[in-house]
Amino acid sequence: MDDIWPAVVSGLVSILQPSAFMYMMLGIVISSTLVALPGIGSKTAIALLLPVAFTLEKFEAICLIVSVWAVSNTANSITSILFAVPGGSGSQATILDGYPMARNGEAARALAAAFTASALGGVFGAMVLALSLPILKPLVIMLGPPEFFVLILFGIAMVSTLSGKNKVKGLVIGLLGLLLATVGVHLVSGIPRFTFGSLALMEGLSLIPVTIGLFAIPELIALVASGSSISKMELNNLDSGRRQGIKDPFIHWWLVIRSSLVGVWVGMIPGLGSSVADWFAYGHARATEKGAEETFGTGDVRGVIAVDAATNAKEGGSLIPTLAFGIPGSSTLALVFGGLLIVGVKPGKDILTTNLDVTFSFIWLLIIASVITSVLCIIFIKPLAKATQIRPSLLVPVICALSVVGAFASSNSYYDVLIMAFFGVAGYWLRLHGWPRPPLLLGLVLGPEAERHLWTSYQLYDWEFIFRPITGSLLLLLMAILAWPTVKKFFRKKRAESGVAHGGQ
């Protein structure tokens, strides 16, 4: 415990350095603006900023990467509330009460309530993360390479099975990510693997071109295919009601705490993203709040508060498995994780022991960035709302051009632009046929670590490492989770058949 307080102070001092603070502000502004733009998600924002982060000092890079990610769920409420178009996966449930509020002339109140609840949720999530550190530290030290190997498989499998309807396809894509991570010269044996004699592939596939290709390009294609802007609606009623909106989450403070807890819990489970957190929180609020059955769905501010508190608290929760075990729970977090690895921050044992100040800088960033973003969003409601109406035909070529430069900048190589283009087409093809893309990114990021742990485990224990108590239990749990839906379906079918048979008699 003695080492925690100096780390708390050191983490705060590091991000309050003028240059680091400036990059945090830059991350907040870029993230909020890009997320508000139609069709541009947080992954695209992070992927486009990663090349910039690589040129920075460690804490400057942390500030830029983490702030872009931490606040990405705040500004996406704008389109949900104003136009009933989800600005991101975590703002779908915001529509249910946010849009009716806007139609009732309370758009500013709904937005201010959403932003304030986001800040409170973000702070709550960060606090839970901070409180969990003393518990996590001994737990992480207890685990060895076999356990970490299985935990990585566990994380990829969870994200794979939860990122689409077809679990099998999700798993295949997760494995594809692990396979793509083996491209390049094998660090232990020095043997080139799947390089096809190309020098450009010797160092493996860079994270940035793959990410831009896999996520940014298909999102731009989606904008091109849909062929229209979000809305041509007039932006009225954005002045009155802000003050009341700011007060609302404080009036319903108990709802904010409960929803934030829901968010943290969802965040801690790899694979359950914002799209689950928002519905869980909304469902919880609807089931527990007084009179909610009658008022929810017609423009009740509590519906907005619950969702936005949960989706932002989720970020703190999702950092728990990421920082402790090195398992990012989502593709966006995998991208953050990959970016941190490249700038020399390695989640896992290191970050909870020798680099505890880095962990606390994350926590402080979550707190400070959440509050600043909410304040900025409340102040700049109008320009942000206007940004959502920009025509896709203006956005697509500009973002595409920046994607090309972003891919090139990762290693100053034109091959990376080609890799980006290849994964852009592949990403669109996968999306077209319902193969989820997030597991691929997770596999690619975690692949090298998984291979290192697999090899060390084999050297230490031979194949018997899979029978170690924690490893074996985790493997059994993993198999049970994967098999459960099929088993459930089988028994349901059996029951239905026996029901028909009895009915026939």
């Binding site: 309807k165 689950v276 090139f408 989820p436 998984a450």
Partner: protein
């Protein structure tokens, strides 16, 4: 659409099959991961293929899953949408080829302007955005991040280094 779906599944099978075959030729240390991954993936792809065939035979219409990834919307699978996407791919190909031949500072702003004009945006706005992109590339990347943006094969041939 159906053919493209099966081509994708078969392509993945071939990819993992290749990884397995090449992996088995490697020393044990290097083969461990690719073979481990391919050994699990190959049967899973067969299951996925079987599920797709069965779904097509039973004519089950897949509903779009809004909780997953970025779900395909109905407006994206129309003939018009595919035509627009095809046009985008041609432009995107030109952007990447142009960057190689003419260099980033020339090709990227130029193709941004072409795209905007093709989409019937006003000339002044197209030119403004093209200049904006040029400014970001030059001041943001080349000067700010000290990133040497390549000059392009053709421009180097014509105007020298």
């Amino acid at each position: 659409m159906a053919v493209s779906k099966y081509v994708l599944t078969v392509a993945l099978f071939v990819l993992f099959g290749y990884a397995m075959a090449r992996g088995l030729e490697m020393p044990f240390r290097a083969m461990m991961m690719p073979v481990f991954v391919a050994a699990i993936a190959l049967p899973l792809i067969v299951i996925a293929l079987y599920q797709d065939i069965r779904r097509d035979q039973k004519r089950i219409i897949e509903t779009h899953d809004s909780t997953a990834d970025l779900a395909m919307t109905d407006s994206e699978v129309t003939r018009d949408a595919f035509r627009r996407v095809f046009g985008f791919f041609i432009w995107f190909g030109a952007l990447i080829t142009g960057a190689y031949l003419l260099g980033f500072l020339v090709a990227l702003p130029l193709l941004v302007v072409i795209y905007l004009l093709m989409n019937k945006e006003p000339m002044w706005l197209s030119a403004l955005l093209g200049l904006g992109v040029l400014a970001i590339l030059y001041w943001g990347f080349q000067v700010g991040l000290v990133l040497p943006l390549p000059r392009g094969v053709l421009t180097t041939l014509l105007f020298g280094v």
